[in-house]
C-alpha cells in the first residue's frame, strides 16, 4: 500500500481561505475587474452557492468581484412576449412574483422546494445557474421552458439557449471574463408547466426532479411542443431530449405520457449515492416525468391541478 499526505482537500477547515475582494457597481466595472484579475476571479452574487464551496475550500478564488451593488440586475419583468429575469433576482423574488407564477407554474413549483426560505432570501437565480450543480433545480426548469441566457463580456453581449448553457458538472459557457446578466423565457400560448422533486427531507437537494412544459395544439388534444428537464440524473444539458422528440405531435393522453416517461428513464445516467441507488433514481425519472407531464397538460388545458 502506498503512502499519502494529508492534502488540503482532506483537511476539514470550514472557513474560507484568504481571498481579495472588489466591489462592482456596474456591469462594465465588473467586467473590467474580471478582465484585470483573470481566471482567479469569481463573481460573487448571493454567495449561497459559492461561499459554502469556499468554506470547504473546494474552490479557492483569488479575488471575489461582488456584484450585489448592481441593483439594476435585480428584476423580473415582461418585455413583449418574454419574461426577463435579471441575474441578481433572488430566489424569493421569483417565488413571490405573480408574472412568473402566472406564465410559468414550473418556476413556482421549483422555487417552493429549493433550499429553504431564508436561503432563498439571498441566493440569486444567476448564482445558482452559474454554479451549475448537477442537482440544481432551475437549470432543468429553464431548459424545459426553452429559455435563453444573456451573457455580457468584453465583446458585448451574446444569447445562449438554456439548453446549451451547461456543459458539464459545475461548468457553463460563461467565460472567466464574462457575466450572466439575464434569463429570458418566451411566453407562448396554450402552454402549461410543472415541476416535481423527490428529496429525503424538505430543503434537501433532489434525489431526482423533473420539470415539463407543454404547448398543446389549438384543440388541446395533441402536444405541439414540449420541454422536459431532469435534475440530478446526468441528463445532458438537463434535457430529456429523446422523450421530447417522441412526444412532439403525439396525443396528450396517458399512454403517450407513460411511454415518454419510459424513454426518459432509459436515457438518463443516474448514479448510486446516499440519496438512493441508481435503479430507484431511474424509476423516479419515469414516475416523475409522467406526473409532471400530466400536470402540465392539465394546466395547459386550463384544468385545476
Amino acid at each position: 500500500m502506498g503512502r499519502t499526505h494529508a492534502t488540503a482537500r482532506e483537511v476539514l477547515v470550514q472557513v474560507p481561505a484568504h481571498v481579495e475582494y472588489e466591489k462592482a457597481t456596474s456591469v462594465e466595472q465588473a467586467l473590467s475587474l474580471l478582465a484585470r484579475y483573470g481566471p482567479g476571479a469569481r463573481v460573487l452574487a448571493g454567495g449561497h452557492s459559492l461561499i459554502p464551496m469556499m468554506k470547504l475550500r473546494l474552490v479557492q478564488p483569488e479575488v471575489l468581484v461582488d456584484i450585489n451593488a448592481i441593483t439594476g440586475l435585480r428584476y423580473i419583468q415582461t418585455a413583449g412576449d418574454q419574461l426577463r429575469i435579471g441575474a441578481l433576482a433572488r430566489h424569493a423574488d421569483l417565488l413571490a412574483d405573480p408574472l412568473a407564477g402566472e406564465h410559468f407554474a414550473i418556476l413556482h413549483d421549483a422555487e417552493r422546494v429549493i433550499a429553504d426560505p431564508v436561503v432563498r432570501n439571498w441566493g440569486t437565480i444567476g448564482g445558482s445557474l452559474c454554479q451549475a450543480d448537477p442537482s440544481e433545480d432551475l437549470s432543468a426548469a429553464f431548459a424545459a421552458l426553452k429559455g435563453s441566457m444573456i451573457i455580457h463580456g468584453p465583446g458585448g453581449s451574446r444569447e445562449v439557449s438554456a439548453r446549451a448553457f451547461h456543459t458539464g458538472p459545475y461548468q457553463t459557457v460563461v467565460g472567466p471574463d464574462e457575466m450572466l446578466t439575464e434569463i429570458r423565457l418566451p411566453i407562448r400560448p396554450d402552454g402549461g408547466s410543472a415541476y416535481l422533486k423527490v428529496a429525503r427531507r424538505a430543503g434537501d437537494w433532489p434525489i431526482v426532479a423533473a420539470g415539463a412544459a407543454v404547448w398543446l395544439t389549438g384543440d388541446g388534444d395533441r402536444i405541439a411542443d414540449v420541454g422536459i428537464g431532469l435534475t440530478a440524473v446526468g441528463a445532458t444539458h438537463f434535457v430529456a431530449a429523446e422523450a421530447e422528440d417522441f412526444l412532439r405531435g403525439q396525443p396528450a393522453g396517458e399512454q403517450t405520457l407513460a411511454r415518454a416517461g419510459e424513454i426518459a428513464a432509459e436515457h438518463c445516467r443516474p448514479v448510486s449515492d446516499q440519496r438512493g441507488p441508481a435503479d430507484y433514481k431511474r424509476h423516479l425519472v419515469r414516475e416523475l416525468t409522467v406526473r409532471v407531464l400530466r400536470t402540465a397538460v392539465g394546466r395547459a388545458r386550463g384544468l385545476a391541478s
Binding site: T4, A6, V11, D116, Y280
Partner: protein, 782 residues
C-alpha cells in the same frame, strides 16, 4: 404558597430570548488563543511521521502539539468512561476517519484552521474494518492490537436460556427478524468545546466546557493531567443541548488543557459540525436478531435476541460499568412473559467511538425498538390487530411491582389504561376504517403502535457506577436569613429547565415561591459531587436529593419554630406551607420568619447551630420506570417511496409531573427524534471507511415541516420509591417513538408484502422494500 408544581414559566428564558446566554464559544478571556484539531482522513493507517515545521512557521501560530508531545506529559492516552483507553492525539495509528492527530494553537480561529493545512502527516494506509458483521471473521483487519481480544470486546447475556428455549419449543408461532438500529448521532445544535485556563502561579486549572457531568470530568482530568483534583475547576456554562453527546471527555478538551499549560495562556477549542458528527459519541449501531414466541390465540410466551454491537475504535460507551450492553435486557418490554434471553457481543471497528447517547436510556431505545417491531410482526403473522395483541399481553396493574424475566423490577404502572387512552385519542377504530377505504382506492396509510417501558434514574450505588464512581447525586440547600434559598445541585441542564423545576421542587417542600429559590449548577467549585445528567436521571436522582435536602431544612425549621412557639416539636404540624401548632392553626411561621429566627439571638434548640441549611446525597433504591403508548399515522406514496407523518399520538406516564409544560416539551422533542431516526437520520460508511454523514447536508435532521402537531395524553402512576413520586421523562419519547413510525410505514406497505425494512425509511429504502430488496442502511448505497 403550597402548590409550586405546575406550568411555571421558566426562569432561564429571560437570558436566552435576549441572546444573552453564555455558551462556551461566547467566553473570551484576556490573551486567549484558539485551537484547531488536525484529523485523520483515513479510517485505518499507521502514522509514519508528523511534520509541523511549516505550521510552526505561520506568524500567527503559537504552538503545535502532536501525540509525541502529549506522550511526554503522559497525556497521549486517556481512559474512556467504560474503562478502555482512547487516544487524545494519535501516536502509532489512526483508527477512524476524523481521529485527532495534532492540535494547532494560534491567535485567531481562522489562522488556526489555516495552519492545519501546513501540517504534513505521512500515513501508511491499512485495510479498514467497516462492516461490523465481519469483525470476528478470521483475517479481519485488527483494530485493537493493543488488546488481547483483537476486535472482540465482550460477550454478555441475561435471562434464562433454558426456560426461554423451552418456551420457544412449545410455541405455536415463532416470528424472527434481523433488524438494525443504525448508527446515528444526537447532534445538539451547539457543538462541543472548551476554554482551558491554566494558572501557572497557583497551579490551578479552570476549564469551561460543554460537559453534562462536570464533576466526573474533573475527577478524570485529575487522573490524566496529574493536577490535584482540588486545583481543578470545571464549569459548564449554558449548554446548547446535550442528549448524551456531551457526557464523554473528548480529546479536544485535553488538548486545550495541555495547550494552556504549554503556552501559559487561555486556549479555546470549539469543534465544527463535521468534527462533531465524525468524532464525538455516536449512538446505537446495534445489529439485532430477535424472535418472539406465542400461542395461536396471541399469548406471548417468550422473547430472545442476539445482538452484535458496533462500538467503533475504542470502547467509550457511557453507561454503568457492570452493564456492557447497558440496559438492553429490558427488551422484555411491557408484556407478561414466561421467559426471555438475550446475548450481546461487542466488537471494535474503524469508526468513531461511542454508542450510548442520544436519549437512549442506556440502550433502552434499541430494546424497545426490537420488542415493539417483533410484536407488530407477530400481530401480522397471527392476523390479529396490533392494539388487541398488545392489550392482551400488557402487564396488569395488580402485578406491580413486577420483576421481569431478566431481573428488572418495574416500580409502578397501569399499562392498559395508557393504551386505552392512546387508542381513544387517536380514534383508532376510525383510523382502521379509513385505512381500509383508502386501500381500496390504492392509497396507502399506516397506523403504527409502540408501547414502551424504560428504566431511568441510574441508580443504586451498589449496582451502578461509572469508572467506580457510584451513581448517587447530591444537593446542597442554603436558606438565607430573609428566607430566600439557594439550591446547588450536581446535575447539569442542557435545556431541560432545571433552574425552574428544581426551584419548584424545593419551593413545594418549603412553602416558598419558585422565584424565592435560585438553582446553581454546572460549576464544580459551587456544587456537590455527582455523576451528571443523562439517562433521564435528573429528576429521579438529583431531584430526589433536592427534596430530601428540603425536607431536612423543613425539619430543622420545625425545631426552630418550636422554640419560637415555645412548644414541643411534636405539637407542630406543617400545613399550607407553614409550621403551626396543632389545634391552633392561626399561629404560624413560614420558612422566611424561621430562617430569620435561626440566624438571630434566639436560643436555639439542640441540633440547630444557627442556620437551616441542609445537604443530601440520594442513593436511589431502584430505577424508576416511566412508560407510554404511542400511535403514529403515516401516508406513503408507493410511486416515490415518500413518507408523510400525518399524526403522532403520545400518552406518557412519568409519575408525578412537576412542571407539565416542561414535560410536554420533552415529549414533543422525542417524537421529532423518532421521525428523524425512523425516516432520515443515519451515519453510513463506505468500504474505505469514509464517513458519509459528516455534515447536515447528509446527516439530515427533521424540520418543522416533517413533524405534525403532537397529540398528547397523560396518565399518572407515581413511583412508590421516589420522594415525590416523579419518574423522569427526558428520553421517553425518543425511546418509544421510532418503533411507532416504522410500524406505521410497514403497516402502510402491508399490501405489498413488506414485513420489515430497516431505518431510516428514506424514499429510496421504502421503494426498494416494496420491490422486495430493501437497502442496507449502514453502508454506502450501491
Amino acid at each position: 404558597m403550597t402548590h409550586a408544581y405546575g406550568p411555571v414559566p421558566r426562569k432561564e428564558d429571560a437570558r436566552f430570548i435576549r441572546g444573552q446566554g453564555t455558551f462556551v464559544d461566547d467566553i473570551v478571556l484576556p490573551g486567549m488563543l484558539h485551537g484547531a484539531i488536525l484529523r485523520s482522513p483515513l479510517a485505518h493507517a499507521r502514522i509514519v511521521s508528523v511534520d509541523v515545521t511549516a505550521a510552526l512557521a505561520h506568524p500567527m501560530v503559537v504552538a503545535v502539539l502532536t501525540g509525541e508531545d502529549l506522550a511526554e506529559r503522559g497525556m497521549a492516552w486517556m481512559p474512556t468512561v467504560f474503562g478502555d483507553v482512547q487516544a487524545v492525539l494519535a501516536t502509532d495509528k489512526v483508527r477512524f476517519q476524523g481521529q485527532e492527530v495534532a492540535f494547532v494553537v494560534a491567535t485567531d480561529r481562522y489562522a488556526a484552521r489555516d495552519a492545519l493545512e501546513l501540517i504534513a502527516v505521512d500515513y501508511e494506509p491499512l485495510p479498514p474494518l467497516i462492516d461490523a458483521l465481519t469483525a470476528l471473521d478470521p483475517g479481519a483487519p485488527v483494530v485493537r492490537e493493543d488488546l488481547p481480544g483483537g476486535n472482540h470486546i465482550f460477550d454478555w447475556s441475561a435471562g434464562d436460556k433454558a426456560a426461554t428455549d423451552a418456551a420457544f419449543a412449545e410455541a405455536d408461532v415463532v416470528v424472527g427478524c434481523d433488524m438494525m438500529y443504525p448508527r446515528s448521532h444526537p447532534a445538539p445544535l451547539e457543538t462541543c468545546g472548551a476554554v482551558a485556563d491554566y494558572d501557572m502561579t497557583g497551579g490551578r486549572l479552570t476549564l469551561w466546557s460543554t460537559s453534562q457531568a462536570p464533576h466526573a470530568h474533573r475527577t478524570m482530568y485529575a487522573a490524566v493531567t496529574g493536577l490535584p483534583e482540588h486545583k481543578i475547576r470545571v464549569v459548564s456554562p449554558d449548554l446548547g443541548g446535550g442528549f448524551g453527546a456531551k457526557v464523554p471527555v473528548y480529546p479536544g478538551y485535553l488538548c486545550a488543557i495541555a495547550a494552556s499549560e504549554v503556552t501559559g495562556r487561555p486556549v479555546k477549542w470549539v469543534e465544527d459540525r463535521s468534527e462533531n458528527l465524525m468524532s464525538t459519541t455516536f449512538a446505537r449501531d446495534y445489529h439485532m436478531h430477535g424472535e418472539i414466541a406465542a400461542t395461536a390465540d396471541g399469548t406471548i410466551l417468550a422473547l430472545r435476541a442476539r445482538v452484535l454491537a458496533d462500538h467503533g475504535a475504542f470502547n467509550a460507551v457511557a453507561q454503568p460499568s457492570k452493564f456492557p450492553a447497558g440496559f438492553f435486557h429490558i427488551f422484555t418490554g411491557s408484556y407478561q412473559l414466561r421467559a426471555a434471553h438475550c446475548e450481546v457481543t461487542g466488537v471494535f471497528t474503524n469508526k468513531a467511538p461511542g454508542g450510548v447517547a442520544y436519549s437512549c436510556s442506556f440502550r433502552i431505545t434499541e430494546a424497545v425498538y426490537l420488542v415493539e417491531r417483533l410484536t407488530d410482526m407477530l400481530a401480522r403473522e397471527l392476523g390479529m390487530d396490533p392494539a388487541e395483541l398488545r392489550m392482551r399481553n400488557l402487564l396488569r396493574p395488580e402485578q406491580f411491582p413486577y420483576t421481569g424475566p431478566t431481573g428488572w423490577q418495574y416500580d409502578s404502572g397501569d399499562y392498559p389504561r395508557a393504551l386505552r387512552l392512546a387508542l381513544d385519542l387517536a380514534g383508532y377504530d376510525d383510523l382502521r376504517r379509513e385505512q381500509a377505504e383508502r386501500r381500496a382506492r390504492g392509497e396507502y396509510m399506516g397506523i403504527g403502535l409502540s408501547f414502551f417501558t424504560e428504566g431511568v434514574g441510574a441508580g443504586p450505588r451498589s449496582q451502578m457506577d461509572i469508572l467506580g464512581l457510584g451513581m448517587a447525586d447530591g444537593a446542597d440547600l442554603r436558606v438565607h436569613p430573609s428566607g430566600k434559598a439557594v439550591l446547588a445541585i450536581s446535575v447539569q441542564t442542557q435545556g431541560q429547565g432545571h433552574e425552574t423545576t428544581f426551584a419548584q421542587l424545593v419551593a413545594h417542600e418549603l412553602g416558598l415561591s419558585p422565584d424565592d429559590v435560585d438553582v446553581v449548577h454546572g460549576d464544580t467549585d459551587r456544587t456537590p459531587f455527582g455523576l451528571g445528567t443523562y439517562g433521564s436521571r435528573s429528576t429521579p436522582v438529583s431531584g430526589a436529593a433536592a427534596v430530601v435536602a428540603a425536607r431536612r431544612v423543613r425539619e430543622r425549621a420545625r425545631l426552630v419554630a418550636a422554640a419560637m412557639f415555645e412548644a414541643a416539636p411534636d405539637d407542630l404540624e406543617w400545613l399550607d406551607g407553614k409550621w403551626r401548632v396543632r389545634g391552633d392553626p392561626d399561629q404560624a411561621f413560614g420558612i422566611a420568619e424561621i430562617a430569620r429566627a435561626a440566624h438571630s439571638t434566639l436560643e436555639l434548640p439542640a441540633g440547630i447551630e444557627g442556620h437551616l441549611d441542609a445537604s443530601a446525597v440520594y442513593n436511589p433504591p431502584n430505577l424508576t420506570f416511566p412508560f407510554g403508548a404511542y400511535i403514529c399515522v403515516t401516508d406513503v406514496d408507493p410511486g416515490t417511496g415518500e413518507v408523510s407523518v400525518r399524526r403522532f399520538i403520545a400518552v406518557d406516564d412519568c409519575g408525578v409531573r412537576i412542571n407539565p409544560m416542561i414535560v410536554e416539551g420533552q415529549v414533543h422533542r422525542g417524537l421529532a427524534d423518532g421521525i428523524g431516526i425512523a425516516l432520515m437520520q443515519a451515519i453510513a460508511f463506505d468500504d474505505t471507511g469514509n464517513c458519509l454523514a459528516g455534515s447536515f447536508m447528509d446527516y439530515l435532521l427533521p424540520t418543522a415541516l416533517e413533524c405534525p402537531s403532537p397529540e398528547l395524553g397523560e396518565t399518572v402512576t407515581p413511583s412508590p420509591h421516589h420522594p415525590v413520586g416523579a419518574k423522569g421523562v427526558g428520553e421517553s419519547a425518543t425511546v418509544g417513538s421510532p418503533a411507532a413510525v416504522v410500524n406505521s410505514v410497514v403497516d402502510a406497505l402491508a399490501p405489498f408484502g413488506v414485513t420489515h425494512a430497516d431505518m431510516p425509511l428514506t424514499p429510496a429504502n421504502v421503494w426498494r422494500a416494496i420491490q422486495g430488496r430493501p437497502v442496507r442502511t449502514d453502508l454506502a448505497i450501491s
